[in-house]
Structures are given as structure tokens and as C-alpha cells.
């Protein structure tokens, strides 16, 4: 009896699942399948996914900026901002698929460029790279703009990846996780005074790397 009841309860479920699988198969080239893979690649910051998106959409984004009186440099910047916005939206689950991915990207590009033009009209004298934004006080969108424009931050980010252990660990613990010096010293088995000196040396090293990156590149 129990068996029969269980059978009766499970049958519709199984049939339902079967139907689901069948309907997925009939759409083997279906949109969610491809889009899920794409968004997963985005979340994982997979370079090939970004290459695909670049090849598919960079023309549209830069074309929009150029068409609306933007320079080559503006086009590059908008492209970076749009990709950062897209990544963030997908990662935070703010991007909801309704079969309008292309349209969504176009809107991001159009809004970003419109916002930039508006900003320039309001601050016509300020050079693009000259204005500095206090990250804590601004919205997500403005933060992305700031991150896209500040070449020193870009060089520092690159520099941090070149910083060798234990400097990278010390900096991460102390500056990012805001672990007290005393605790960092305990964790890394350093003498407290030595660690203080070490942090100073690490920051100096990082500064040198950043300056070298800026000197060797066109970022400055």
C-alpha cells in the first residue's frame, strides 16, 4: 500500500521531469543554454568569454561612441566601463535574461556615453584624467567610471600582482582585511617591530613597481 502511494505520488513528478528534459533537447541550440554558459564564463572572468564578447560587441559599443562625437580614447574607456558594468550586473544577479542581451549591452553603452557627455558639460574645464573620485562617497556607476579613468590605480593593480611573498600577503592582511599589526605579526611569525619595518619596505617596493609600470607603458 505504502509502495503504491509512493508510486502514485512520484509518477507525475517523473513524468514532469521527463517532459522538461525533452523540451530542453528540442531546443539544443536554445538561448538559455548558451547564455548560461556565457554568464558563467563572465562570472569566472574567463578570458575566452571576454574575447568572444569583445569580438561580438566591441564594434557596436565603440561605433556608438564614435558616432556621437567620441574620440578613440573615449571609445576605449566606454568599452571598459560597459564590460565592467556587465560583469558586475551578472555577478550580482542584477542582469535578468529576457532574451535581450544585445539590447542590454547597447543600453549600457548608450547610458554610459550619455552620462559621460553630461558630466563633461557640467565640468568642461576638468581634464578627463585629472579628476579624482572619493570612492566611498560615490555610486557604483561612478565608481566604475573612476576605476576606468585612473591609470595609477590600474598600474597599482598590476603592481600588486607582481609583488612577491610575503609582501603581497602582508599588504592584503593589513590593508584589505584590516587585521591589526599585532595579529599580522603573530600569524606570520614576525617580531612586531620587524613587521612594521617590513610593511614600510613592502609599500616602498610596490611604489617602485607602480612607477616602473607607468614609465614603461602608455598608461600615464
Amino acid at each position: 500500500m505504502t509502495f503504491c502511494l509512493a508510486y502514485l505520488v512520484t509518477i507525475p513528478k517523473v513524468r514532469h521531469n521527463r517532459m522538461k528534459i525533452k523540451s530542453n533537447k528540442s531546443n539544443s541550440r536554445s538561448m538559455p543554454n548558451n547564455l548560461n554558459a556565457l554568464t558563467n564564463g563572465l562570472i569566472q572572468k574567463d578570458p575566452e568569454t571576454f574575447r568572444f564578447l569583445y569580438r561580438q560587441y566591441a564594434g557596436m559599443i565603440t561605433g556608438h561612441v564614435r558616432k556621437n562625437n567620441g574620440s578613440e580614447e573615449d571609445a576605449k574607456e566606454v568599452l571598459q566601463i560597459v564590460m565592467m558594468q556587465l560583469w558586475r550586473a551578472v555577478k550580482d544577479g542584477r542582469y535578468v535574461e529576457e532574451g535581450k542581451f544585445d539590447q542590454y549591452l547597447y543600453q549600457l553603452a548608450a547610458n554610459t556615453w550619455r552620462e559621460e557627455l553630461r558630466r563633461r558639460r557640467n565640468r568642461p574645464v576638468v581634464e578627463l584624467d585629472a579628476y579624482d573620485i572619493n570612492v566611498e562617497d560615490k555610486t557604483q556607476e561612478q565608481l566604475l567610471h573612476a576605476l576606468a579613468k585612473d591609470h595609477y590605480l590600474e598600474a597599482m593593480h598590476k603592481g600588486l600582482s607582481q609583488l612577491e611573498p610575503p609582501c603581497n600577503r602582508i599588504i592584503e592582511l593589513f590593508h584589505l582585511q584590516q587585521v591589526s599589526l599585532q595579529k599580522v605579526a603573530e600569524e606570520m611569525e614576525y617580531n612586531y617591530d620587524n613587521l612594521r619595518k617590513r610593511i614600510f619596505d613592502c609599500r616602498k617596493k610596490l611604489k617602485k613597481i607602480v612607477e616602473k609600470i607607468l614609465d614603461n607603458s602608455t598608461l600615464k
Binding site: L35, A37, K45, P47, K67, A75, L79, G99, D102, I171
Partner: protein, 257 residues
């Protein structure tokens, strides 16, 4: 301006300090000022460091895009999604597209650029440059473009290769040159152009260039999202001693997709 003035004054004072020309009070004031500017610099550095560490993920994305811009180059003007909208022809085209979309609205997702993402990735996985092993005879056309094009191809400078091989192919109609032209287009991601050249030459190629041509043609179709055409060609290659294994593997992966 004030900043510059004070900076200049500080420099002047520092110079005097080094020469021992400052009295005790002036020496103290310069040292204090110097300390302050050092602290300010440290605070600024700290702030930047915090921003970078807090936004590492976003900056990773920025770095990815920057390296893509360097590697792939910024798309040239003209590759626009929507072209300038003042001409009548554009409006008429827009009207036709809108009507088409209204009629076939349910098919809209299939026209989207991302709809063949998986197929594109699969093709990229199997795509590698064709070795420069196909010989081509003299056909009365100057070989200069062919040589320059193939040299560029060997150096993996595909834009230059496309330019010279394209010129040579247009003059000679040599299918072997066409094969390398099409492969260069494919490697440069000019997939539509690659498909057009493949369609033109594949029937004229001889073994083993023929099989290589078919293999790359299937990859071109795949990158364009034309799975059916790609599968058809791959099926015909399944028993080929050289490419059969890769074709079968790709087919299996396509089915799994």
C-alpha cells in the same frame, strides 16, 4: 598656482638647508613642512591601495579588456551596430527588419550575437593555424604577394597575410592560396569572409588540402553558429585518416552541447 608657489618655496628652502643657510627656527619649519607633505603622500598612497584592494575583481575585468584592446585592436570605424539614421534607405531597411521581427518575433533570440556562444567556444578550442605545407605551382601571376602573404602567415600576422594573399588570390584564383587566405580570416575572426572564401575554393582543392579545407570550413560554420552545415562536413571527414579523429571528437562534443 598656490601649490606650485609653495612647492617652489619649499625646494628653495631645502636647498638653503643643504647649504646650511637657514637659522634654527627656519630649519625646524622646513623639516615640519617636509614631514607633512610626506604624510600627505603616504595617506594618498594608502587610499589608492585600499581602492585597488577593494575593487580587485573589477580591476581584473578592466585588465582583461585592456589586454583585448591591445591584442585584437579597437574595431575600426564603420563596424557599427546601427548606422547613421538620416537616409531614406536606412528607414526603409529599418521598416523591413521591424516587419520581419513582428512576423518572426519568436525567433528573435536566434539572431542575437551570443546565441552561438558555445559553438564559437568549441570551434576556438579546435582552431589552430594550418601548417604551411601546401605547394602551389606557377600560374603566370607574380608571386610577390604570395610570398609576402605566406611570410606574414608564418609570423602569425594575419591582417598582413589577408591583405597580400587576398590580392594574390583575386589575381590568380589559386585555391591553395585561397585556403591560407580563408584560414587567416578565420584566425582573425573574420568568419563570414572566411566562409565565403571556403565556399569558393573547397571544391577546387586536391587531397590533402581538400580535407584541411573542409575541416577549417566546418570550424568557420561553427563560429558563425551554423551547426548543421558544420556537422554535415564533419560527418564527411569522420573516416579521414588524418582528420577523422578530430572530426569525430568535435562531433561528439557538438552533440553533447
Amino acid at each position: 598656482m598656490q601649490g606650485l608657489d609653495s612647492d617652489y618655496r619649499l625646494q628653495e628652502q631645502l636647498q638653503k638647508l643643504a647649504l646650511g643657510e637657514l637659522d634654527e627656527e627656519e630649519t625646524y619649519s622646513v623639516i615640519e613642512h617636509h614631514k607633512l607633505s610626506l604624510i600627505k603622500e603616504q595617506i594618498e598612497f594608502n587610499n589608492k591601495l585600499m581602492r585597488v584592494l577593494r575593487n580587485k575583481d573589477v580591476l581584473d575585468v578592466k585588465m582583461l579588456v585592456t589586454s583585448l584592446i591591445i591584442e585584437e585592436g579597437l574595431p575600426k570605424p564603420g563596424t557599427r551596430f546601427f548606422s547613421s539614421g538620416n537616409r531614406w534607405s536606412v528607414w526603409i531597411l529599418g521598416l523591413i527588419i521591424s516587419t520581419g521581427l513582428l512576423i518572426g518575433g519568436s525567433q528573435l533570440p536566434y539572431f542575437q550575437k551570443w546565441s552561438h556562444y558555445k559553438e564559437y567556444r568549441l570551434a576556438q578550442k579546435y582552431l589552430s593555424p594550418l601548417e604551411n605545407v601546401v605547394f602551389t605551382g606557377s600560374n603566370g601571376v607574380s608571386n610577390q604577394d604570395l610570398n609576402t602573404g605566406m611570410d606574414a602567415y608564418n609570423r602569425q600576422e594575419y591582417s598582413t597575410a589577408i591583405l597580400h594573399l587576398g590580392r594574390y588570390f583575386a589575381a590568380s584564383k589559386d585555391p591553395n592560396a585561397g585556403l591560407y587566405l580563408a584560414v587567416s580570416c578565420l584566425l582573425k575572426n573574420n568568419n563570414r569572409q572566411a566562409t565565403a572564401v571556403f565556399d569558393n575554393i573547397v571544391g577546387k582543392l586536391e587531397t590533402p588540402a581538400l580535407q584541411w579545407g573542409q575541416w577549417y570550413q566546418s570550424l568557420a560554420h561553427l563560429k558563425e553558429g551554423n551547426t548543421e552545415a558544420a556537422s554535415e562536413i564533419l560527418h564527411s571527414l569522420k573516416d579521414d585518416p588524418m582528420l577523422g579523429e578530430s572530426a569525430s571528437k568535435l562531433l561528439i562534443e557538438l552533440i553533447k552541447n
